[in-house]
Symmetry: C2
Subunit: 503 residues, 2 copies
Amino acid sequence: MLAPLLALGLATGVAAAPAAADFERVVQANLPEFLELLAIPNVASEPADIRRNAAFLEVALERRGFSVQQLDNPARRPLVFAEMRSTRPDAKTVLFYIHFDGQPVVPEEWAQASPFVPVVKQRVGESWQVVPTARLQQLPLDPELRVFARAASDDKAPIVMVLNAIDLLRERGATPAQHIKLLLDSEEEMSSPSLAGVAERHSALLTADALVILDGPEHASGRPTVVFGNRGIAQATLTVYGPKAPLHSGHYGNYAPNPAIRLAQLLAGMKDEDGRVLVAGYYDGVRLDDSERAKLARTPDDEPALRKRIGIAQADRVGATYQEALQYPSLNVRGLASASVGAKAANVVPSEAVAELDFRTTPETDGAHLQDLVQAHIEKQGYHVTAGPPTDDERARYPRLASFVRGPVQRAVRTPDDAPLSRWAIAALSAPQVAAGVEPVRIRMMGGTLPTDVLVDALGLPFVMVCTVNADNNQHARDENMRLGNFVSGTRAIHALLTTPLD
Amino acid sequence: MLAPLLALGLATGVAAAPAAADFERVVQANLPEFLELLAIPNVASEPADIRRNAAFLEVALERRGFSVQQLDNPARRPLVFAEMRSTRPDAKTVLFYIHFDGQPVVPEEWAQASPFVPVVKQRVGESWQVVPTARLQQLPLDPELRVFARAASDDKAPIVMVLNAIDLLRERGATPAQHIKLLLDSEEEMSSPSLAGVAERHSALLTADALVILDGPEHASGRPTVVFGNRGIAQATLTVYGPKAPLHSGHYGNYAPNPAIRLAQLLAGMKDEDGRVLVAGYYDGVRLDDSERAKLARTPDDEPALRKRIGIAQADRVGATYQEALQYPSLNVRGLASASVGAKAANVVPSEAVAELDFRTTPETDGAHLQDLVQAHIEKQGYHVTAGPPTDDERARYPRLASFVRGPVQRAVRTPDDAPLSRWAIAALSAPQVAAGVEPVRIRMMGGTLPTDVLVDALGLPFVMVCTVNADNNQHARDENMRLGNFVSGTRAIHALLTTPLD
């Protein structure tokens, strides 16, 4: 499968570096392909959609000379693997991990017809105005235009940035500085349930010297960003049970215990007024010494601007700074429901109240352990905890009933910032073609989660993460978007990673 | 319009009382008409549906010799007024109030195709089994069959019970003991916004000596039930604001305050672990002396059975008994929402969290006053309270932001249990044809709310309420139902009210 690559002229070695205008041109040329990719729905709960994405990506990569194969999994949501060899005699192998699935959507919340019909917008004052898609065909590119769609930034854009960088190499007849392997995940937003199995079955295929993850937003300063670690995640669903069926709030109010109030009391006791977790033992093991704090303080966060952008007057006080806060595990209510609100609300004592929780973890605080601590906290408040809806017998015996259903756990991982791989990534992102004279932002541990634990455990690889998309991209939420300026700067960064030799 | 009534033979005076079998027969004969009525959707947010109900009722009442007219309101949800004169020389006039609108529905929660396609079921073990509708045509009626549909018990069944009682009078050529006026409300479940205006515009039409409300479940003991008062209600929507848009829970967890946690903390502080309201001043003015407590203790509540039926091991401890609990105002969370739960849940810090609240009031605790107290409580927790979503300026200035939107208020009303009207109702319900040798249950103040305040204020009438439907009817919730045995006993009770002279 590799012979065609050589025939395509990638074997001619070093060529002139691309000029600034070349990056814009290649981004512009590939934007229609990006829009086509965004138009394929990619929520992993629909395997047929995932297969359509995989087929599209296979074609796009093969056209650029990659050797491609789909790595299927039990849920028939195939991952995509692609490989391209360098002709450099002592070339190392770098495995790039990106994902093409997206977070679930609530289409009616979006300010456009569908999250899977991409729309181009520009900011006008405080609001976003739709502009014709044809504006994407005008050079020079307007860096402030944005493409709105699910997965625009998380995480389809980095895939297309790799295509851009390869196109730039190919048109100059240059070889990449290392052998390139791409692993495009299909289930990242559902915690990659099959990644460990796929990595095990295809361990020979995935052999490499280093792992580079392309995901996550760049630092808000707009500087090239490299990340040495990420928090893990664990989820749980907490349901508090009230009466067996919703009851008339007049005839039963003051008598039938209200599960929404009780859920509120349980949740309220889990955090203090400043957002610090009160569950016993939750922060145990996390320690930041002065040297770590000093490194964290070098991150050029503009916290007043950050608070203004997200619309809050005061942040939670888990850490002294934003970066410090991310070094601790979090306890987040990601959804809440009991009976109905709005026009459908009825005067009832609800029968149950549900809180969806996620716990972001650190290398010191394992997710399963945090789930244990939270369940112990619930039990300490006098609750009998069941695995699902209580039986009549349990209803008769226990005054307080809740179920606590655990979700999957992903481990946090952190690479030392002075490892060879870390130094290589810093060097590449410091190259003049990426950002003249600007030091990359180094993030000790980012707040979000990637399935680095599975890859690191299965492949025994050191890893770094390079972040390219705009910080205000609304990822995981409605109106996710990708800024064109970041498409260009991200392509520069990835091109540098492909052309700076890893020793 | 009254001449035809006389021609129909209602002027012939006293006739033999109906036999036990007559009640069953008339109920059975009118069940198809009941099912037709239930098949007309009746959520007041759809005025066209309300008009279809009104048209149906107009026909049904005219066919029985009532003089009928629709009393329209600004929302084009007409009420129905009907009148029938007694030929008794010294007859008083009794105004019966019933409502034909129903609570909002969430169709997918119902264990049947639609809340407006009535289904007949019987209990088999712990579950409900659908039986052919034709079973309603078999005599003797199976009292344990139930008709499932929205408004089956709340409050369309009492309308049909009146039709049944009139049919029994007419077939025996008897006159009612009092002039009958019927006022069928179209907006009760939305707190009857137009009732005061209608009562004012038609005050002459509605003139009467007493008001009898037919609504609400009978006592769980299955004994005839008369109620001398009802709690009022006030509503409010409490929204706590977090970041401007939902944020990635990894990148912002521990930094962006979570509005769901904050709403939980606000709600948790409103009630103690036993369900007693902690909002300062909430219970002020409510006092139960020993004589009142003794009367309340005579209500034959089987609280262990009640708790078993609703599926709780322990009740809230607002009062020492169920009846005592209802003499206090309540604070109920009737709905809760933040972001999404279940398959649509995403890993976000939500942008807002909403609680729908209802406050059941007593004559001592006015609804607007309770709204004031709750808002003051929220402000005391450090919240800046807005009338709606906060502006950017408010977001920048206030660390804690919530809106508190007040809903309409209905006053609680209570009639002394030794008033002449109260004694008449007790006498009628004690008649042998209703319940031989069984004393009716007397309820000082029921937990639910009826627009008695508007009627009592507008018409200056004393009132009592007579409750006939099964206590376990799921009113206001999914799977609302009406038990056939109650259709028969309710028809007996209403027949007694029409034939026992009010002095």
